[in-house]
């Protein structure tokens, strides 16, 4: 039983990370109507910035994180304005190809700038475990869960109660009418990309202490985030987070208790989740069925 609870908690921790990155995917999907295949590489790039600031320049963790988040926001905004905005009215294929170009470009750039060697990034949380009724829970896991849930709540409040949040929702739901009431749509879609990149940076910073930092760090996480977003419904922010947590716990239990799956088949298991959801309930758990008029 204690082992089971421990697996659930560590599953929640990795699920929180999947949820954060899935939320980034959902934000961009709502803003631009595409899936950003470069989301993982962008997150890794942000993590490298964090690493450079803390290790090379000796900054303390929290100011370094704040600066990293600011740079990530600017970077995401810039990427949207520079390369996504010109093609976003065209076919989906073209936008997807542009994000794949970004994936290759950013991945290569990281290897170029920081070389392919693995780096270690410190965690802001202590690695000690605390005892909760016989269950040893690491503070790092608790911190990860706390940060991801906190971020989601903050983001929800931002969308609900601020003017920019309202304008963002308007721009994503109905660009033409939003423009009529004076919302600067392209600029706000850029803000959406910036926010998504910030979320990615948080996911990257939470991932890096448990694995090592290398240019391909977020590739597997991105697949899990895809699965989480699809599971929760690609247009639902709440769904992304719930999907992430469900997937994290589910994969962890599957890996522990089903010998055949073990550690090697976690990725294919996530893949089957994607396929099964797309086939049997394409809208996901919380999403809306899209009705298109022709």
């Amino acid at each position: 039983m204690t082992n089971f609870l421990q697996q659930v908690v560590s599953g929640l921790a990795s699920g929180g990370i999947y949820g954060a990155l899935a939320l980034a995917l959902v934000l961009i999907h709502r803003a631009t109507g595409v899936i950003n295949f470069a989301q993982g590489e962008m997150a890794t790039f942000s993590t490298y910035i964090l690493w450079t600031l803390t290790q090379n320049h000796g900054w303390p963790y929290w100011p370094a994180l704040a600066v990293t988040l600011a740079i990530s926001f600017a970077g995401g905004f810039g990427v949207h304005q520079l390369v996504v905005r010109p093609v976003e009215r065209g076919s989906v294929l073209r936008v997807v190809i542009v994000t794949i170009g970004l994936l290759l470009l950013i991945n290569g750039a990281m290897t170029w700038i920081w070389s392919g060697e693995v780096r270690s990034v410190h965690s802001p949380f202590p690695t000690r475990t605390i005892d909760m009724g016989g269950v040893a829970i690491s503070i790092q896991d608790l911190g990860t869960i706390g940060v991801s849930i906190g971020v989601v709540i903050l983001l929800g409040l931002f969308f609900r109660f601020t003017k920019v949040g309202l304008a963002l929702r308007a721009a994503a739901t109905n660009p033409a009418e939003a423009r009529l009431v004076g919302v600067r749509v392209p600029l706000l879609l850029g803000v959406g990309w910036g926010l998504a990149t910030m979320l990615g940076a948080i996911a990257g910073a939470l991932t890096a202490p448990t694995v090592f930092l290398d240019p391909n760090m977020m590739q597997a996480v991105l697949i899990y985030a895809f699965a989480a977003a699809v599971l929760g419904g690609i247009d639902s922010p709440v769904g992304a987070v719930v999907g992430g947590l469900l997937l994290g716990v589910g994969l962890n239990l599957l890996g522990t208790y089903v010998n055949f799956v073990g550690a090697d088949l976690r990725l294919p298991a996530a893949l089957s989740v994607i396929l099964a959801v797309l086939l049997f309930r394409p809208a996901g758990l919380f999403g809306h069925r899209v009705v298109k008029r022709v």
């Binding site: 073209r94 997807v96 290759l104 470009l105 290569g108 697949i223 893949l271």
Partner: protein, 326 residues
């Protein structure tokens, strides 16, 4: 009629050029050009699906893996000669593609890209898991059985003695050119029209009596069969397969090749195949860093989408119409 004659003439010139090219190449270059033919086969397959039928695939490396492993397993475990494994690879990969095409009918655009991408990412892990069948992480060696392959020794073909790389060159290009003609015949007629109708508007295609299910699964099957042949040739060329022979990057590079060559065109794909094979080498001139090819690929991919959405084929057409205009 005149256009067909011109195309046939140009194609004959291409065949002659390819036939005499090894005379001017070093052994190493001949091998590189053999890989160009392998990529060409895979690109034709991907273009049938993505360029002509409008179904995006980011997972064609997985179908290449199916073909490559069919060849490797048939050769090492069942003692079948390398040439005969090529049609087998086409059949097995084609069947896999057809079967994947059935659930894929429910997925459109973005979701299909996602599902195929996930397959490409998961393939190496699945190959490693079924160790008894695929040889696991250590892979399978093909040159262990000398009498089954051209191997390291010279090969006798129709009274000619060819060294391994030249034999590889002629094998790959023969297969590629035959499959090129097959694709051309398939796409110019009724089937090709149906494919393009599905791509341009599913609703319009459906209302003119084109069965979406039939033509989409057909496109998946044909496309995967091509990828299977490419994977089989790839295995024969490298004489070795392991799970990392077919990484997710391969699938992405194939998409890059199709976009650079020109979506919905066959001629441009030769440029796309040359691009995939030689770009990593050209990138070395810019920087020795292992990240350089990725950066160059990315920049060119985005640049092509912005400046040249119809790829090399579109550029070619524009130049040709310039001459015809006089």
């Amino acid at each position: 009629m005149r256009r067909t004659a011109t195309s046939a003439g140009l194609f004959a010139a291409l065949v002659v050029a390819i036939a005499v090219l090894p005379k001017f190449l070093t052994d190493f270059r001949a091998q590189q050009f053999a890989y160009v033919a392998v990529y060409l086969v895979a690109l034709i397959g991907l273009n049938v699906l993505t360029g002509y039928t409008g179904q995006m695939s980011l997972g064609h490396g997985a179908f290449m893996a199916v073909g490559g492993y069919t060849t490797a397993i048939l050769m090492t475990d069942h003692g079948i000669k390398d040439l005969w494994t090529i049609p087998a690879a086409a059949v097995v990969a084609g069947a896999a593609g057809f079967l994947f095409g059935l659930p894929a009918l429910r997925l459109t655009g973005l979701y299909l890209a996602l599902a195929t991408f996930a397959i490409a990412v998961a393939t190496p892990a699945v190959i490693k898991k079924f160790e008894g069948f695929t040889g696991g992480g250590s892979g399978k060696n093909l040159f262990g059985v000398k009498e089954l392959t051209g191997g390291i020794a010279p090969v006798h073909v129709l009274g000619w003695k060819l060294n391994f790389n030249n034999w590889l060159y002629y094998l790959c290009w023969t297969v590629a050119l035959v499959l090129y003609v097959v694709a051309w015949l398939l796409l110019r007629g009724r089937t090709g029209r149906a494919f393009r109708a599905v791509r341009d508007s599913e609703t319009a295609a459906l209302s003119s009596g084109v069965s979406l299910a039939r033509y989409k699964t057909l496109a998946f099957g044909v496309s995967a069969a091509y990828a299977g042949v490419a994977g089989s040739l790839f295995a024969i060329a490298t004489t070795y397969v392991n799970p990392d022979t077919f990484p997710v990057q391969l699938s992405i590079f194939l998409l890059v090749g199709v976009v650079v060559g020109g979506l919905g065109s066959l001629t441009g794909l030769i440029a796309g195949a040359i691009f995939i094979e030689f770009l990593p080498l050209w990138a070395q001139d810019i920087s020795k860093s292992p990240g350089a090819p990725g950066v160059v690929y990315g920049v060119i991919l985005i640049g092509v989408i912005f400046l040249l959405p119809t790829g090399a084929a579109g550029l070619l057409r524009r130049v040709a119409s310039l001459f015809r205009g006089r």
